[in-house]
Symmetry: C2
Subunit: 542 residues, 2 copies
């Protein structure tokens, strides 16, 4: 702060500080506060109408230049109004316009505008649903919406829900802070279920893994999941002490879904080893990379036959259950033991919110923790059985959104995404320089650029030469994706995996997620046009 | 929905649905949206001016009566305006007024009103700081504010911060979704540091605990922490596979802080057992129940001598470092290996936000995870080394709040809380029926009601009779606390612990957290008056 400047009024006295804790009563102050909100709601609008703004990596240095001071100012640096203006004028233009219909690279998109209102409500209420004493009716609403989504997934009978919806003793699920902690909660429960207290043994949660392995003469816990599962599942293995090496990757089949024969083979082999225990099998309902859904019904059957815990990571695909047209794609999910669904993905809610559900309302007893000052045994505090402690009431947002949109409103969004992805796939196949890699089952697809002359070469050459060409194709795809990102008009992401199990190297593919209702086939054609254009300007040496 | 009613316009067509994803352009729609915000900002005001509204347990049945339907409506049930009105008129009055100056029972209070604006901004931007491609400048700001708080804690030299503030390769800390995941991250890192990759052994994160114990001929991992630590630490032990039994509780001394002799004794005994490894020692900077700070400097010294990882849970007390007057209370925190601080506690931010810091900028490499579609090796994505995946940019709120308030603004709040708590303790000691249990060091204190005749009896009687009277006193305190809660004007919480190590039973104590700047000694006197009044009406059988 300029030394000649007077300190900003805000902390000039205790009185002014105290005042910022009370909502102002007089008309003038109310108007000021509202004006800020207007700035926030509509000032950010301009930003949202410009380019997608994903940064080229080179410019990061430049971007960081002004953000290196690490001292906290003693006195206020800026008034609230200047902070807000700065964010709108200087920060927002350097953020990423995830709401653009041209931003189709990640699982974040535009939201209905009322989501901002709903989040503002829960912020203003500032309830902590960890405990009834800081949330009261919000805890009740949370239990109700959990039951509604549980019913959508597991479709148990009315009397089941009547019994459990507001039950103090049982839990149908929990809100989490995202898919990672939801998956973590599921595998935590699965691990603990396998080694419940028995006689002198107080259960794995109490005793720890070392003692548990000793007690049962084991030396290894494993979890089985297809090779393309979200990396949070490996992280979960590390966190829970299972070891991420023991999150065993099962190969995918030619359709890029878990290979059931390989799964059965792995289960058999692992079960034959008396020192190994399988803690869970995980099915993916919409992989992050391809959006494809594992054969959940068959997996559930295999798990049942082998008495294994079956978790479904439907972080992405879960809300498809709201679509009458496409819910069949998740067939078998009702036979899972637990299911992850994210709120900030296809429920179109703001960051950061996820959910975990358990078929058995007693499952979460496996992770119950009590304390003396809250969450006392016998209390109705939701936090007794959640990984997280303090938690905002995101449940009220989901509850309200479902009331405002109805399941049909959500279904329209889901159906649009899948329909548009299919149209997009057709368009890709029409164009000579592209090759579709994974057809969309939900609203995600992958493809890549293969210039026609390289395509024909690939068919003729020897294995070694083929690898060389594949590397060149990878290089082209990386360059085009980066260039498009740098141009800032649109954004698709890229990833890499083996297209066929016979491949020697992983292929770079372009990945598109079609979730914004504003993203239509014309926009997608423009994005392909741009890629074609970039390709023609590339200096490729074959 | 009433069958005769027309379906609500919102989903009548694809067009209307699509429209809710775009901020309306015309003046009329803008006004409507703003009107909603006005309702939210000021409609909730009335609720905040009434009672604290913590529910009596009996009425829970009544409260849940209208929240048992578990079917999701196909069509919209309500328009946005009705949903908002309903929340303000019907939900908010049944929530808990955590912003009341009479709500002093938990670590949640009024916030500066601009926090609602700031949260609305990050919601509208909807950036995901997990990856640069969905956050760009917000990732840069996050790294800067992390460095600022790291400097506040560890106070390294300018060139250290210049090197690391925007470094791609190192991490000074991370935002988490709260204290639980912050503590979990710390102990996760501590566990992994102990068993890094070495020759054929790929590290505990990869190999899992079972294999690790085998490799090093161990049978037990432990963590040492005082008996009154937050229960999330035990939970952490369970989650990480250490076993919550192995989170060894060290007794407190007569001042209710960790007993250093007992700590040293435990370290010695455990170290003598070659099959046991101590993963970490944890100090508490502000226990949840009493707000007391462990002797961090001494603990750091002991850990250094024994080459042990030292974590400090300063979820509550961390921001006291901003107070020139009281920062000395946390002396020694700079010698910790890791520190937890919550944002939604004494940084007065909305739920849900916490932070974890590491002295060594390479510590978080222990928990690095990569994937092919984001968080690629070498990328600057923050999410590579965080427990959580997708995450909202709460860092922008802290950054802005520090700019608006300055460290002095926060210091005024901290100083007020401590000063008022000390005044409150004096007042308690003045009144005959009360007994102070833990004097406030920070802004939390505990006391209990002991009617004078029982107090004098306690001094004379035998051990068995004493226990009977103690039980009666407990009963009185529970009844008074409950009754006060039911009356709905004010709220203190209660907990139970042994007041002295010679006690046979745990005592019920009343617990107050003084954090709202609107809570002053007059309000606190009123709260004591009310308790005295309730006591006189109680039917006590001695």
């Amino acid at each position: 702060m300029d030394k000649n400047q007077k300190p900003i009024e805000l902390i000039a006295s205790w009185d002014t500080l105290q005042r910022i804790f009370i909502r102002p009563e007089d008309e003038a102050s109310r108007k000021t506060l509202l004006k800020y909100m207007e700035q926030i709601l509509f000032g950010l609008h301009d930003f949202l109408n410009t380019n997608v703004g994903v940064t080229e990596e080179i410019s990061l240095k430049e971007l960081t230049r002004d953000f290196k001071n690490t001292l906290i100012n003693k006195d206020p640096e800026k008034k609230l109004t200047d902070v807000i203006t700065d964010i709108i004028d200087k920060i927002a233009p350097k953020a990423v316009n995830v709401a653009s219909p041209y931003f189709i690279g990640h699982m974040t998109s535009a939201m209905p505008f009322f989501m901002v209102h709903l989040k503002t409500i829960i912020t203003a209420l500032n309830q902590n649903v960890n405990k009834l004493e800081t949330s009261k009716i919000l805890s009740v609403i949370e239990k109700q919406i959990l039951a509604k989504i549980h019913r959508l997934i597991f479709n148990k009978k009315e009397n089941f829900y009547h019994k459990h919806v507001q039950s103090i003793d049982t839990s149908l699920g929990a809100f989490t802070t995202g898919g990672t902690t939801a998956n973590l909660t599921a595998l935590w429960v699965a691990r603990n279920k396998l080694f419940s207290p028995y006689q002198d043994f107080e259960g794995i949660e109490n005793e720890g893994i070392a003692k548990t392995m000793q007690t049962f003469s084991l030396d290894r816990l494993v979890v089985l999941v297809q090779e393309r599962a979200h990396f949070s599942l490996k992280k979960t293995g590390g966190l829970l002490g299972i070891g991420n090496k023991n999150i065993i990757p099962i190969p995918v089949d030619s359709k890029h879904k878990i290979n059931l024969k390989e799964l059965e083979k792995a289960i058999k082999e692992l079960s034959n080893n008396k020192k190994t225990k399988i803690a869970a099998v995980v099915g993916i309902a919409g992989t992050t990379e391809t959006g494809l859904v594992d054969p959940l019904n068959d997996m559930a059957q295999i798990c049942k036959e082998n008495s294994l815990f079956f978790h479904v990571d439907a972080a992405w695909g879960g809300p498809v259950l709201l679509s009458e047209k496409y819910s069949h794609l998740l067939k078998g999910i009702a036979n899972a033991d637990s299911v992850t669904i994210d709120c900030h993905k296809q429920f179109y809610m703001p960051m950061t919110s996820g959910m975990i559900y358990f078929k058995d309302p007693l499952s979460m007893d496996q992770i119950a923790y009590h304390s003396n000052y809250v969450n006392r045994p016998g209390s109705v505090d939701i936090g007794i059985k959640t990984l997280e402690g303090s938690r905002e009431a995101n449940s009220l947002i989901l509850d309200s959104a479902l009331k405002i949109m109805g399941s049909r409103g959500y279904a329209l969004l889901i159906d649009h995404g899948i329909k548009t992805a299919k149209e997009f796939a057709k368009e890709i196949k029409k164009r000579k320089i592209f090759e579709i890699i994974t057809e969309p089952e939900l609203n995600i697809l992958t493809y890549r650029i293969v210039p026609p002359d390289l395509k024909s070469k690939l068919k003729k050459v020897s294995k070694d030469q083929k690898e060389k060409i594949e590397n060149l194709i990878n290089d082209i795809n990386i360059k085009v994706q980066r260039k498009q990102r740098e141009q800032g008009k649109s954004f698709v992401s890229r990833t890499r995996f083996k297209i066929s199990k016979y491949d020697r190297i992983e292929s770079v593919v372009l990945r598109c997620v079609i979730m914004s209702p504003m993203t239509d086939i014309n926009i997608l054609k423009e994005i392909l046009d741009e890629q074609e254009d970039i390709l023609t300007r590339l200096d490729i040496k074959i």
